[in-house]
């Protein structure tokens, strides 16, 4: 299986080819960071998820949140579904852990602002 993707590490945007059968060999890169990106994107693409959760507050009905580190791309929608059921009460502080180890991953869901 050959995966084609565009490197996003720097604005040059090299077109990478990653051959999964050949131990994720990367070609089309112009630097070492591209190799690392190509491999990780092909093997296990991860993303930081940012969204909002409900807050019991008329003035601030939503609190912005993010994952404390990237989670597998394939789990983004499942994580979003979990966030649907969260309701926070005031006060909320930046960095508060809203969900620990989301979907069993090391990442937590944390609040990214204060709401008092």
């Amino acid at each position: 299986m050959v995966k084609e993707l565009i490197c996003i590490v720097c604005p040059q945007g090299c077109h990478l080819t990653v051959e999964e059968e050949k131990e994720y060999q990367v070609s089309g890169h112009r630097c070492a960071r591209g190799v690392a990106y190509g491999r990780s994107e092909a093997m296990n693409p991860t993303r930081v998820l940012t969204s909002t959760v409900c807050v019991r507050s008329a003035r601030h009905p939503r609190c912005p949140v993010k994952t404390s580190q990237p989670i597998p791309k394939k789990d983004l929608f499942r994580a979003m579904a979990l966030l649907d059921d969260i309701v926070l009460d005031l006060p909320v502080h930046r960095g508060d852990v809203v969900v620990k180890n989301i979907l069993g991953h090391p990442a937590d869901i944390i609040a990214t602002r204060d709401i008092t």
Binding site: L5, I6, I8, P11, Q12, G13, R47, V48, L49, T50, S51, T52, C54, R59, P61, R62, P64, V65, K66, K73, L76, F77, M80, R94, T112, R113, D114
Partner: protein, 428 residues
């Protein structure tokens, strides 16, 4: 009559906050920040996504986190804040300027201040401004307004979406709407290249299988009370729709991401000179406008892509305003004509800041921010000169209109120049 403020900042977003904090650090003590929303933070409050702060903080932060870092530095600073307050007019004066503002709580007042920092940000270009034929059904909104509804108020604005414009706001909202359960059918871009960052194309469109239609535009919107369908057509080299290329999309929402316009109504009414290329005021090397003691920074001066540069620019403005207040008698505001250099965008350059340089006022290095008119994937040289001699040149491996560029030039290079015009051009 109370003592005048030393600095009055119009806008409590990253630009305004950066200027206020920098002014404080550079010796000012009577600083007021006026913000029309209920809280500080500006547009960052609704930018729940990350990508902010890589340059300035060395970390990847979300918009609210970046805003939080800025507002955190206000604590204990003595900087006064007025929220839910709108500045209505600026009246430039000789020794002090007068700013009239009002709020429900504090009423209508006019305050005197030695310096003003314009940090009002920008607004979004509308459908009317680009003239899309069709109905006026509900469901057509700018991406930023949609972002406010979704992220701040907690409401979805549609179920089946098409995005017009591939600037970052459109791309970010394409992802946001998809994550919240909408179907985004396409992102339509009239130019043959995208206006957004490559990482956003990947993480906002490719990740979700949303097609990017370059050299296309929406030529009609249909629907009685609510949007029901749009017509998309390819465009030719002069950006005119090509007959016979009509495609129809069944959508209930059109999100417009077709440009940002610096919000300079107050600026114009005050008689401050404007640059039609940037849409913002003309500024000198230290971000001072054509009126002494009035400075500008952030999106109101030029539309930025990265808030990190807004912060740096605003810190320069704050520092300059502080220097002005504390050292008023010294440097001349309007030196003789032969000591001013006009900075002019030449071939390949869309706009550049600052537009004027007072040679006597330069710091050791001066940074120019500029945008190119066309993208280039091959290396180019950015040239500085008077039209005949080249004063400096810089190599750049790639450039795009959607990514603001900058170069740093030594003071000595400029002081050695003969002419009064500094030309910035792009050569191979």
């Amino acid at each position: 009559m109370a003592d005048p403020y030393q600095m009055l900042v119009i806008g409590g977003g990253p630009a305004g906050l950066g200027a206020a904090i920098s002014a404080k650090e550079n010796g000012l003590s009577r600083i007021l920040v006026v913000e029309r929303d209920l809280e500080l933070g500006g547009i960052l409050n609704q930018c729940v996504h990350n990508g902010f702060g890589l340059h300035y903080f060395g970390e990847e932060l979300t918009g609210p986190e970046y805003a939080g870092r800025m507002t955190g530095r206000l604590e204990g600073s003595g900087i006064e804040i007025l929220c839910d307050t709108m500045v209505l007019s600026i009246h430039p004066g000789q020794d002090v300027h007068r700013v009239c503002l009002m709020s429900a709580c504090s009423g209508y007042r006019c305050l005197d201040t030695e310096t003003i920092v314009l940090a009002m940000g920008c607004r979004e270009r509308t459908r009317g401004a680009i003239g899309i034929p069709g109905t006026r059904a509900a469901g057509i909104l700018t991406a930023g307004t949609a972002q406010r509804y979704v992220n701040m108020e907690g409401y979805m604005v549609g179920k089946r979406v098409i995005v017009l414009g591939s600037g970052d706001i459109g791309l970010i909202m394409a992802r946001r709407m998809t994550l919240e359960g909408a179907k985004v059918l396409a992102c339509v871009e009239i130019m043959p290249f995208s206006g957004g960052l490559a990482r956003n194309i990947v993480q906002c469109l490719d990740d979700y299988g949303i097609p990017l239609l370059l050299s296309h535009t929406i030529t009609e919107i249909g629907g009685r009370s609510r949007v029901e369908r749009v017509t998309v057509q390819q465009v030719d080299a002069s950006l005119q729709p090509v007959e016979g290329t009509e495609r129809y999309f069944d959508v209930d929402t059109v999100l417009l991401s077709v440009g940002l316009i610096p919000e300079n109504e107050l600026t114009r009414e005050a008689g401050i000179a404007m640059d039609p290329r940037t849409g913002g005021p003309l500024v000198f090397e230290n971000k001072e406008t054509s009126i002494r003691g009035i400075f500008a920074c952030g999106n109101v001066l030029q539309v930025h892509d990265l808030v990190d540069y807004v912060t740096e620019e605003s810190e320069e403005a704050g520092k300059a305003a502080a220097a002005y207040v504390l050292g008023k008698a010294t440097a001349a505001f309007a030196p003789p004509a032969d000591r001013i250099i006009d900075v002019t965008p030449g071939k390949g350059i869309a706009c550049v800041i600052p537009q004027k340089i007072r040679l006597d006022r330069l710091e050791e290095k001066i940074r120019f921010f500029f945008r190119v008119s066309e993208p280039s994937k091959t290396p180019k040289r950015v040239m500085l000169g008077d039209g005949e001699r080249v004063a400096a040149s810089f190599r750049r491996p790639w450039m795009a209109p959607g990514e603001m560029e900058h170069i740093k030039v030594d003071r000595s290079t400029l002081q050695e120049m003969q002419g009064e015009i500094l030309l910035l051009t792009i050569e191979d």
